[in-house]
Each structure stands twice: as C-alpha cells, then as structure tokens.
C-alpha cells in the first residue's frame, strides 16, 4: 500500500523526543527524534543494539519506567475521528484506556509476554474485561475466536496455553492480542527475531495482510535492515540515539545517503546477487554516557570531514528524504564523495584519491 505522506494527517507524530536513563552516568539514549506515522503505513526503525530504538518505542507507548526519563519532546496521536491526544501528558485512567485501544505493542519474546498459567482465551478475555467492560461473556468468546482466526490460528487453540504453542503461533497470539481493540497504531519490537526464517516470512505476510485489511499503521523495529527493506514503506535509521536518515524503503535500498546506512546495507551479503567482497564497519557505537560533540558516527566513518568531529549534524530534509550528515550540508561540503553516492562504504583506490587527501588534511587540522 502506498500512502502519500503529504496528503494524510499523521496518526502519530513524535517531535524532538529525548530520553535519558538517569543512572550514575546519565545515558542519553534517545536524542531529539522526529518521526511520523501515517495511517496504514509501515515505518521501519532500524539500528543496532543500544541505538535507542526500543527506548523510543517504549517512550511512545508510555512503558518507560524510572530511571528512564523523557527529557524533551512531544508525542501526538491523531485518531481517525480527528481527536488528538497528547500521549506524554496522559495520566492514570486516561493512559490505561488509551494504551492497547489506540496504540498496542508486540514484543520480541512472546514466551515471556504470554502468561504461562492462563489459557489463550483468558488472556484475550482479560483485554476485553479491562477495556470493554460492557461486553458479555459470549461476545468476548466470539471476538476472541474471531481474532485467532484473523491471525491464522484455529479457534480450538483458545483453550491452549503458551507452552503448547510453537514460537510462530505464540507470536501470532501476541499479534491477535495487539489487534483486539482495533488500535490505529501497532508497535512491533523485533517481532520475528527469535523465529525461524520460514515462520518469520509467514508472520510478515500476516502483518502485511492484516494491515491492508484493518488499516492500522505499524512501527516495525528491528536490527535486520534486509527484512525492513522488503516490508516497510518508509525506513528510519537510528544511530546512537538519533535518527540519521529517513526515506522511503526503495530509496534507502537504492540510494542511501548516510554513510552509516550505506555501511549497514553493505554489512549483509546478498542472497542471490553477485558475490563480492564485503566489509563490516570498523569500531563500535559510542558510549552514550559521554556527551558527543559532533556526529556520533564520525569515528567509524570513512567519509568524515572536519566539522563531523565538532559540530552536530542537522537533519536535512529534501522531499521525503531526510539525512543528518555534514556531507549533504552546503555549509560544510560541496557534496558527498563518489564512493558514497554509489552506496559504497569503503574508500577504494582510483576514484577516491582526492577525497582521501581531503579527509586526512581535515583530520590533521583538527588534531592540531
């Protein structure tokens, strides 16, 4: 499904969101994140462990607990009925009725999320009892059975327990539970990471089919960019707490702009494409307890220029493609090097000798 982002009001808009973990050393887990989700759209959020993607998801669904602390920003939910909700301002009863009925979540580990001593039926009923107290027992039963069938599980499983279900079926039950109150937004946090590929493929198809049928928007969080490229409409790439690039999935795949995105795309071999030498990214993500002066990726970036090390990059928007990188900022650069334009992560021999020269001189300038 293709949603034109300029014609619909976003169902979820995150503006300038920052989250800290107030430990002995304050961890700046999410910094100044802007993200919108349009109705019916699947937005992929990709990044490595520790990049803040799950913290962001928890902040949006108000599941953060101390020491996590939202230090800045807004999350605005706009329902199909036109009502707007200031998500971060919700309290107690309002929050309880908002969560699950408007935004629901599916977590990675369905075994730990499902209650092992309650049947699937009881767990589905619990949702209705809490949120739809007017429903009769028969209605709850009927709706629960319908939900299971919706995710491809026979109603005979209603009386089953988590341990009797395979990993894929548990995850389907989790999706059924998330869909129970027909929310407008579903946040999926690594929903298929623990599953085998064939089961993963089934679940992905199920999510896509349900999205088309029910029209919810989904924020799909994973470290697996190759998977997102197949199922997401738009993709946001997170690094060290910030979104460093955001664009339609097809553009991320064919024309990535941020060096980190290019690096991620080069970090997994192609299943069927040409065999070629690939390189991982050197180094590791930065320590988020230490304030970062410039671009957080600069120490690992083969294309870093002088300002990368001391000036934070701003998110530059062109059309529906946004990137936070000095190479695209006319104030600092006349444009990205050819190698990066071609989606390569490493600087290779011939065509980049000039660039290498520039970079080394800049580096020396900073050290001096």
């Amino acid at each position: 499904m293709n949603i034109r982002s300029d014609v619909t009001e976003p169902v979820l808009a995150v503006r300038g969101l920052s989250v800290d973990y107030a430990a002995a050393d304050r961890v700046r887990a999410v910094r100044d994140v802007d993200l919108v989700l349009h109705p019916g759209e699947i937005v992929g959020l990709a990044g490595e462990s520790g990049c803040g993607k799950s913290t962001l998801a928890y902040a949006i669904s108000r599941l953060l607990r101390p020491p996590a602390l939202v230090t800045a920003g807004q999350v605005t939910f706009t329902g199909v009925d036109g009502s707007t909700v200031d998500v971060l301002g919700l309290e107690d009863e309002e929050l309880r009725s908002f969560r699950w009925s408007r935004i629901s979540m599916v977590f990675q580990s369905a075994m730990n999320t499902l209650n092992p001593v309650r049947s699937v039926r009881r767990q589905l009923h619990d949702i209705f009892r809490a949120h739809r107290p007017a429903m009769s027992r028969d209605e709850r039963d009927e709706r629960s059975a319908h939900l299971l069938e919706l995710v491809g599980i026979g109603r005979s499983r209603l009386d089953g327990f988590a341990h009797e279900l395979s990993g894929g079926m548990r995850q389907r039950v989790m999706i059924a539970m998330a869909l129970a109150l027909e929310p407008e937004v579903i946040i999926l946090d690594e929903p298929t990471t623990a599953l085998d590929v064939v089961v993963q493929r089934d679940i992905l198809r199920e999510i896509d089919r349900l999205r088309a049928e029910l029209g919810f928007a989904a924020l799909f969080i994973t470290h697996d960019l190759s998977l997102l490229l197949e199922i997401a409409d738009r993709i946001a790439i997170m690094y060290a707490g910030r979104i460093v690039e955001q664009a339609p999935a097809s553009e991320i795949r064919i024309a990535p702009q941020h060096p980190y995105t290019a690096g991620l795309l080069n970090a997994f071999p192609s299943l069927r494409g040409h065999r070629r030498a690939l390189h991982g990214m050197p180094g590791s993500p930065p320590d988020l307890t230490v304030p970062i002066a410039g671009c957080a990726f600069a120490p690992r970036c083969p294309y870093a220029i002088g300002p990368s090390h001391d000036t934070p990059p701003s998110l530059l928007q062109e059309g529906d493609h946004a990137v936070a990188c000095h190479l695209y900022d006319p104030r600092y650069s006349s444009g990205p090097p050819q190698a990066l334009r071609e989606g390569r992560f490493e600087i290779s021999g011939d065509d980049s000798s000039g660039i290498t020269g520039d970079i080394s001189s800049d580096d020396e300038g900073i050290k001096a």
Binding site: V198, R253, P269, L271
Partner: protein, 328 residues
C-alpha cells in the same frame, strides 16, 4: 586430502527406542577437507548444533564413525586431548562461553600450555600473537581484561583466539555471529575466512542464514530434522535449490534484491516428525504417496551435488544410493 569424515552419524535423545526417542541426528555423512569451508544450514531443531557438539566431543553419538586423518575420534583420555588439539569450536554465545572470573590472558594461556606445552615468556608471546591475529589490539591491554569489559564482538574474537591456540586443523563455528550486531558480523566472518586460508583450516560453519552461508562457504549441507537433505557447491545449492525444503528456505529468506514476492510453497507449521518416509513430507507441496512410506535415498545430481528426495529418482538412474554416496 580429507581432514574429517563423518559416516552415518546418529544421535538419539530421550528413550532408547520406541515412541519417546527423538532422532536428532539420523544418518548424517559428510567429509571436510583442509582449506575449505562447509556450511551446515538448518533451522532450529534441524540437528545442526548437535552434529557440531558431537564433533567437538561434548555430546556422545549414539552410533556412527568420526575419522580425523584416518584415526577414529576418541571419547576419553589422552587421545581426546590430542583430538582437541586438532578440532576446536567457537560457540554461539560469547557471553556464556568465556569465564567471567578470568582474564583474557587466562583463557588463552591454558590451551597454549595444555596443547602446545608453552610457558613463561614463550607462552606470553604466543598469546600476544594470537590476540593480534584476531585484531584485538593493543594486545597487552586486552589480555589483562575480563570478559565483562569487552563488547560482544571482542569476546567472540577472544573465543576465536582460544580456539586457534592449540593450532587446530578443523574449526567448528556454531552460529559465531548470530548474537552480534549486524555491523560487526562480516568483520568476524571475514577474519575467520582469512585465518582459514592462512592456516589451511577446514571450517564447519553452522548457521541458519543462507546468505552468509553462500558468502562464506564453498559447500553447503542443508539439514532438516536430523537428515542432510541437500548438499553441493554453495552457489548452486542456494541459487538453484533442488530439495523442496531448500527451495522453501531460499524463498523465505530476506532478500531485498528480489524482484517478485516470495512464492512460499510448503507449510511452515511444525508437525511431529513422521515415523516413516520423508521427514519433510508433511510440509512438502510435492509429497507423493511413496514419500510418506519410504525413506528417500541420497540421490546424486552430477558430480558434487546430492539431494534426498524422491522427486529426483529419475535424474540418476541406476544409483539407488547408499546413504553416504554423493554427500561428501
């Protein structure tokens, strides 16, 4: 030259016979040669890790032969120690495979002493050399650290250095990168590949990921529920899979470059392993009556390929194969 040969390996868990017994590995045969990487590909429950653990002598096989350079693999004692000088393993979880109470130096010093008889300054320089080889520098500083001071990728390099310490001929790598972040996986795989070439190792790369199996190995063995169902050169097996299960795996794997939506033939629902016939039959879109009653033989397809599927019976007339023919 063959480094390691596995013949008709069987591992049964649970009851010794009857309904309770699970044949996790059921008649697996293959050979690994020095200087080559073979990927053992399969989903959870395929038996791939059990094969590796048997080869590492952590698990005891129910039956079958394991022969290293002409000598049967021992189970106990001094000969087992010699075996371990030749066959080493890197485990999946770098957080569980190193002892949190000991330094990196301790982890590497032990195999250097036990297997190579090194002590003192000699041992220390071998240790530094190992750390530098796995690109953990400055080696002196890394050597003094405890596992908790290292990242997942660094720990996995320590585990690799430890496995290399005895100077093995065969390296068993059980999902060595699946718990690492995407950006550092290839670096570790590339490192293993360069060490493999340099030391002329035989590597058995155990993985669920077809894409890295293709990238990283010369030969692929596809396992399903204890059977090797397909084998051959990695490009051929992955680009042109023959067994319906391999076809299903290749279709389901993420492939951003794919031009058409995946055609998923075959059921993903996990069924109990059938008592008779092909183990994949309950999920197979091409299953015939015969598949449900009669075990398919290993059918050679050309020189280096083989599959265990009745569909290919006619492609190799007159070769009602024995279980280990072709699967080498």
């Amino acid at each position: 030259m063959t480094t390691l040969e596995v013949r008709d390996l069987v591992k049964t868990f649970g009851a010794r016979r009857g309904a309770g017994a699970v044949r996790a590995v059921d008649g697996v045969s293959f050979a690994l040669a020095r200087g080559g990487t073979t990927a053992l590909v399969g989903e959870s429950g395929s038996g791939k890790t059990t094969v590796a653990r048997i080869l590492a002598r952590i698990e005891r096989e129910t039956s079958g032969d394991i022969v290293v350079d002409g000598v049967a693999a021992p189970r106990l004692g001094r000969r087992l120690r010699r075996y371990h000088a030749d066959v080493q393993m890197v485990f999946q979880d770098p957080f569980a495979s190193l002892n949190p109470a000991h330094t990196v130096a301790y982890h590497l010093a032990r195999p250097l002493t036990i297997h190579r008889g090194l002590h003192g300054a000699e041992r220390h320089s071998a240790l530094v050399e190992l750390l530098e080889r796995v690109r953990l520098t400055p080696a002196e500083q890394i050597a003094a650290k405890h596992p908790h001071e290292l990242s997942g990728g660094q720990r996995q390099r320590v585990a690799l250095a430890r496995a290399l310490a005895p100077g093995p001929k065969l390296l068993l790598a059980d999902e060595p990168v699946s718990m690492l972040d995407v950006s550092i996986r290839l670096e570790l795989l590339n490192l293993i590949a360069s060490i493999q070439r340099e030391r002329d190792l035989a590597v058995l790369y155990i993985t669920h990921d077809l894409a890295t199996a293709r990238y990283f190995s010369d030969t692929v063995l596809v396992m399903y529920r204890g059977w090797i169902v397909e084998s051959g050169p990695s490009d051929e097996v992955i680009l042109d899979p023959k067994h319906p299960y391999t076809q299903l795996l290749a279709e389901a794997a993420p492939d951003p470059g794919r031009t058409a939506p995946p055609k998923l033939e075959g059921r993903s629902v996990v069924e109990a392993v059938p008592r008779t016939g092909c183990r994949f039959a309950p999920r197979c879109p091409h299953a015939m009556d015969r598949c449900r009653v009669q075990d398919p033989p290993v059918i050679p397809l050309g020189d280096a390929r083989a599959t265990r599927c009745w569909l290919y019976e006619d492609s190799a007339p007159g070769t009602a194969a024995s279980p280990d023919s072709g699967v080498t």
